[in-house]
């Protein structure tokens, strides 16, 4: 039987009884022809020859414009879609400078090591025909004995912000050639630098510019970004320079159809919809069976593995081979990832299930269909993920499958909002005191700080004096000097992810007499480790289940999880105990019935056990306990305490009130991102009490609930906190928009068709109780009156 075309398949989805009624919206994006421009007259002939050798005989208009602007000395940011040839926008000016000025140096920054490797490979292809290009990556993977050679030889260095921060700037005296002659700094994937990471990068760039000033260079910044609302503003805030924006792409695009799909309600009473993972897997399987190259985006690592094993099972051929579908996520080893990337480019791999790791510009060739299993959290990510499917000519499709979370339900039922809202502004706050002070330490470590020297937009004098009081700085002559034995960059991570990774080691072969070889099969970062690789956990790599035998996490140990391949039909989900306690109150607002405060809190979390969940049916088939250490962060939060009098008026039962408040916490947490333009995971929520921080003990939800019910003084408190240590300003923003958030919460509850509560409003009724929705509604009515 002939294979169906993409268009035929989409028509089927739209018209079949089964799926048609669940498609809430379709949007068509018509194709666009290319706009060409000739090679600029000043472009080095050797470079033109090299381009012709690679089959490039003219440029797209945006590439031409980028070269022109760079040549005139402007800082610039190029904002064009995936696969529009944006790398030439920075490669042309940089290679030109290396060819024409022998001494000049160029620095490329990528958010990941993999992207730097990818880009190096592309540059090397182009550079084959060019003289004197000495291009190297310099990052955590560069062997110690090769580093000296890179420092001495390279005229083009590809690295990442973390390495610049901890490995290059604090050792700038070993990079004199680079800093004396730095002509261009290229920052790719600019949109990745939002929130904490971006706020850090802005400060790293302030340090970079100081060092360049010291050695007498003033580099030009060339940046590239996916579509966000404010690329120019972000570029200017990151670099502290005024920046030209190139937003019009001259590259052609093909026809594209975007569908929104809301899984059918299977239990109207409980408001339960068909599981979105199953629905997403079903669509992906349909595409793959027609040999349509497909990428599936999952919103978590676990969801990636569940989707992958379902899809693999469905597309397995007669001999049981399902290799045409691969998984891709952070934690897979670089080799495995490179293999998947190559497979996708060559066509050996037809489908890939990925986390947002593939949102970034890794070259995986062109795919025909993208299935978004769940709303990716931001409009910008939505377009980036959807943009992974699409060729310069021909058709492509994107399909968004909504989960039952409130945000997803809002988006899938308001397609005009989804398609009409500009992508989020990428927000950074380089002046976040926590972040700024840390980089000020690094800056002073690198080079004594002259009185009155600028560092970003604000006056840093108060911080300097503060740090002198703490004994880290010392003022002598007209300068501040570093007076501590520590190396400050070592203690400052630019990401929430720490560098302390666990390796996952497969010991399956160990018991069998032969091979004693132990194989590292994955890496897990410290923050996720306790929730993913606790003893007896099922850890999945490309859909294959492994059981964790031992986890070595103590300070004096190598961080390793020993796993063994097993045959099981379940996966595991961690149960954690938690606690949030107030450390410092910064502001409050009282209204009739509610005291809302904003300040600093301590959040502690501890994995205490796990549930076993069966594949397919997702039923709970067992549980277990684990003993692991507690993880703590200090961050900022907004918290709400409803006045006892109002609580008493709403219900006389503590049971009901606790359920209602917990439902309210769930609702507010999931709606807040609409106002704060952040990801749901950037926030955390918890229903606790006001026990002082020193006395608090973590508890699972049932434990915390029992504690509230038995407490002498009944003071349930809803905490909404910033997930990033130190906070990036989300809690303060939340505190300010609280009235609007409460109003939107009430609207959502009133509009939700479920009877007792569902994942789209206060949470699933089986977890939250039958009275939660009513209580939460009554509370909100009073609070917004």
């Amino acid at each position: 039987m002939a294979l169906k075309s993409l268009r035929e398949l989409l028509d089927e989805f739209l018209t079949s009884l089964d799926t048609g009624s669940c498609i809430t919206a379709t949007r068509h994006f018509p194709s666009k022809p290319p706009r060409w421009a000739p090679f600029p007259s000043s472009l080095d002939p050797r470079l033109i020859d090299a381009l012709k050798g690679r089959g490039v005989h003219q440029l797209y208009s945006h590439q031409h414009r980028a070269f022109e602007l760079a040549e005139k000395g402007h800082h610039l940011v190029v904002v064009t879609p995936a696969a529009s040839g944006k790398t030439l926008c920075f490669n042309l000016p940089t290679l030109q400078s290396l060819l024409q000025q022998g001494e000049s140096r160029v620095l490329y920054l990528f958010p990941t090591k993999a992207l730097a490797q990818d880009q190096l490979a592309e540059l090397e292809e182009l550079a084959k025909a060019l003289p004197d290009l000495r291009m190297f990556t310099y990052d955590g993977d560069t062997p110690q004995d090769a580093r000296r050679a890179v420092r001495a030889r390279a005229n083009l260095v590809l690295t990442n912000p973390d390495m610049l921060h901890s490995g290059i700037l604090p050792h700038h005296t070993k990079w004199v050639n680079l800093f004396q002659n730095l002509r261009y700094v290229v920052i790719d994937e600019l949109h990745a630098y939002r929130g904490v990471f971006g706020s850090h990068l802005a400060n790293v760039l302030r340090r970079l510019k100081r060092i360049c000033r010291h050695y007498g260079s003033t580099p030009q910044f060339i940046m590239a970004s996916a579509t966000i609302a404010n690329p120019r503003e972000l570029a200017e805030r990151l670099t502290g320079e005024s920046v030209e924006e190139i937003a019009e792409s001259g590259a052609p695009t093909g026809d594209k159809l975007f569908l929104c799909y809301n899984p059918p309600v299977v239990n109207p009473e409980l408001g339960i919809r068909a599981p979105y993972l199953g629905e997403a897997a079903r669509f992906a399987t349909r595409f793959l069976k027609e040999k349509i190259a497909t990428i599936v985006f999952a919103q978590s690592r676990l969801a990636t593995e569940v989707l992958l094993s379902t899809i693999k099972g469905a597309v397995r051929d007669k001999v049981g081979n399902s290799g045409i579908v691969r998984g891709y996520r952070g934690g897979y080893l670089p080799n495995r990832r490179r293999e998947v990337e190559r497979g996708l480019r060559s066509g050996d791999v037809l489908g890939v299930v990925s986390t947002n790791a593939l949102e970034l510009g890794i070259d995986i060739g062109h795919l025909d269909a993208a299935v978004l299993a769940g709303y990716p959290g931001t409009i910008a990510s939505l377009w980036q993920q959807a943009g992974r499917a699409g060729r310069r000519s021909g058709e492509s499709a994107a399909l968004f499958v909504a989960t039952s979370a409130p945000l997803d339900q809002f988006m899938v039922t308001h397609p005009d909002y989804l398609f009409g809202t500009p992508p989020e502004r990428a927000l950074i706050n380089p002046e976040n005191p926590f972040i700024l002070v840390n980089h000020l330490k690094c800056a002073v470590f690198e080079l004594p700080f002259v009185d009155g020297e600028p560092f970003g937009g604000v006056s840093v004098e108060p911080y300097l004096s503060q740090l002198e009081t703490e004994g880290l700085f010392h003022h002598a002559g007209d300068r501040w000097h570093w007076t501590s034995e520590t190396y400050p960059a070592d203690h400052i991570s630019l990401r929430t992810v720490t560098s302390d990774n666990f390796v996952v080691m497969d010991t399956t072969a160990r018991d069998e007499k032969q091979a004693k070889r132990r194989q590292i099969i994955a890496e897990v970062d410290w923050k996720s480790a306790f929730a993913m690789i606790y003893p007896k956990a099922i850890y999945m790599v490309e859909g294959e289940p492994f059981e964790v035998q031992e986890l070595h996490y103590r300070e004096d140990e190598e961080k390793v999880a020993y796993v063994k391949r097993v045959q099981v039909d379940y996966f595991t989900d961690a149960i954690s105990a938690k606690g949030v306690w107030i450390l410092r109150r910064l502001a409050d607002q009282a209204s009739a019935g509610l005291l809302a405060e904003h300040g600093e809190v301590l959040v502690a979390e501890k994995v205490v056990g796990f549930k076993k969940i069966k594949f397919g049916t997702l039923e709970n088939v067992g549980s277990g306990e684990v003993e692991l250490p507690q993880q703590e962060i200090q961050t900022t939060a907004a918290w709400l305490a409803v006045a006892p009098a109002l609580l008493a008026r709403v219900s006389s039962s503590r049971d009901e009130l606790v359920d209602g408040l917990r439902g309210l916490a769930y609702l507010l947490h999931h709606l807040a991102p609409i106002f704060l333009l952040c990801d749901v995971r950037d926030l955390g929520s918890w229903l606790g009490d006001q026990t002082p921080a020193g006395e608090g003990v973590v508890a699972t939800y049932p434990g915390a609930r029992a504690r509230l019910l038995q407490a002498e003084q009944f003071n349930p408190t809803i905490y909404l906190y910033d997930s990033a240590p130190g906070g990036i300003g989300l809690a303060e923003g939340l505190f300010q928009i609280l009235p609007a958030l409460l109003a939107r919460g009430l609207e959502t509850l009133q509009a939700c068709p479920c009877r007792w509560g569902c994942p789209s409003c206060v949470g699933p009724v089986n977890e939250i109780g039958r009275r939660a929705k009513a209580i939460a509604t009554t509370l909100l009515r009073h609070l917004t009156a």
Binding site: H171, T173, K174, V176, F445, L447, G477, S484, Y487
Partner: protein, 380 residues
């Protein structure tokens, strides 16, 4: 009234092209002993020994053209945020040894200190340090670059840490300079300030301006520089002619290792002296194997066999390595499979009798079965 640093350490202000700093100078007569040896001993170092220690092909520095250098720093972290606030530099000048300590009274005197160091280094051909390769010199180079000055390229460098490791790592608990002073040079420091405390003492001084706590830091630095001198004297004398130094067998091995490569014959002499003086197990077997391997490389088979047999006799437990060497000799060199088989069989029997490690037994069994197959011999 608190005393100033200058008063406490007997220094005075000196002027450079880049500002002022404090310099404390002392002079010593050459017969002054630091430990058991006099300072003069460093001047007696023969040229070939200095060349060996500086591990450089260029002409060896004359003893009077060497600067003995030790820095006190604000930490060990590396990078550009660590200062060398006190640099002790000693050199021979006529019939005196001069020890000058260059000190930053505050961190803004660094340009003056670097300027003074640049002028001083220009007057010498080489520097002597302890762990300078890993620490003092890269740090000073960083400070030079930060001050936008070129680091002098003409200097040869005698880092005494690598030879100290060769000589004493097997015998002493560690190779810190203090340990070697006590156990080798015969010097006991009294009330010495621990090195780890030095950065915080300096930071305390910067903030409080109370100089008392710095006095022991100057003293510590001064003793370090003097120890560099007599340690150079000791090592040079041991390498040249250790008569009268009363060396241990392990030290003879170390001297052999130092000479080996540069002067095989002298290396061999020291090795044989080590054996003659009763080098104990397991160092003894390690040396015999080393000598055996060298004899084998040079085709001196009878000697090699003698070393291996001696290693077997000397080992307290079963040692696989010499047996393997002998078996390989018979199999590959003499092509006498029967002899090789005999050796392997004897070794396996012995290994079993002595309860040697499983891996060793397995390796021998494997060898034996291969030899059996090749030679067509039946297992007896």
């Amino acid at each position: 009234m608190a005393l100033s640093v200058a008063e406490l350490v007997g220094g005075r202000e000196e002027v450079t092209s880049h500002g002022r700093l404090l310099v404390a100078r002392r002079e010593y007569q050459l017969h002054v002993r630091h430990g058991e040896l006099p300072l003069r001993s460093a001047l007696e170092a023969p040229p070939d020994v200095l060349k060996l220690l500086s591990r450089q092909p260029q002409p060896e520095p004359a003893p009077r053209r060497l600067l003995y250098l030790d820095t006190e720093t604000t930490g060990l972290a590396g990078g550009t945020g660590t200062y060398a606030f006190l640099v002790g530099a000693g050199f021979f000048d006529g019939d005196r040894f001069v020890l000058a300590q260059y000190f930053m009274r505050d961190l803004d005197e660094e340009p003056a200190l670097i300027s003074a160091m640049a002028a001083l280094l220009a007057d010498f051909d080489g520097v002597v340090t302890y762990n300078g390769r890993g620490f003092d010199l890269p740090l000073l180079e960083t400070r030079f670059v930060l001050s936008r000055r070129p680091w002098p390229q003409h200097l040869s460098h005698l880092d005494l840490l690598p030879p100290a490791r060769r000589l004493w790592s097997s015998r002493l608990p560690d190779c810190r300079l203090g340990t070697i002073e006590a156990r080798v040079l015969g010097l006991e420091r009294v009330d010495d300030v621990p090195g780890a405390l030095i950065p915080s003492l300096y930071f305390h001084y910067l903030r409080s301006r109370r100089a008392e706590a710095l006095q022991p830091v100057f003293e510590h630095n001064r003793l370090d520089v003097l120890s560099l001198v007599t340690l150079t004297g000791w090592v040079a004398r041991a390498l040249a002619d250790p008569e009268g130094l009363d060396l241990t067998p392990e030290e003879y091995v170390g001297l052999g290792r130092l000479w080996e490569g540069a002067d095989e014959e002298r290396g061999a002499q020291f090795y044989h002296e080590a054996l003659r003086q009763g080098l104990p197990s397991p160092h003894r077997e390690r040396l015999l194997l080393r000598l055996g391997r060298r004899a084998k490389r040079e085709g001196r088979w009878p000697e090699a066999l003698a070393f291996w047999n001696e290693a077997i006799a000397s080992a307290s437990g079963f040692d696989l390595r010499p047996w393997e060497e002998i078996a390989k000799y018979h199999e590959h060199w003499r092509r006498d499979l029967a002899a090789a088989h005999g050796v392997a069989a004897r070794a396996l029997a012995l290994a079993e009798a002595e309860g040697a490690q499983e891996a060793a037994q397995a390796s021998l069994a494997h060898r034996l079965s291969r030899l059996t197959r090749r030679s067509g011999l039946a297992i007896r």
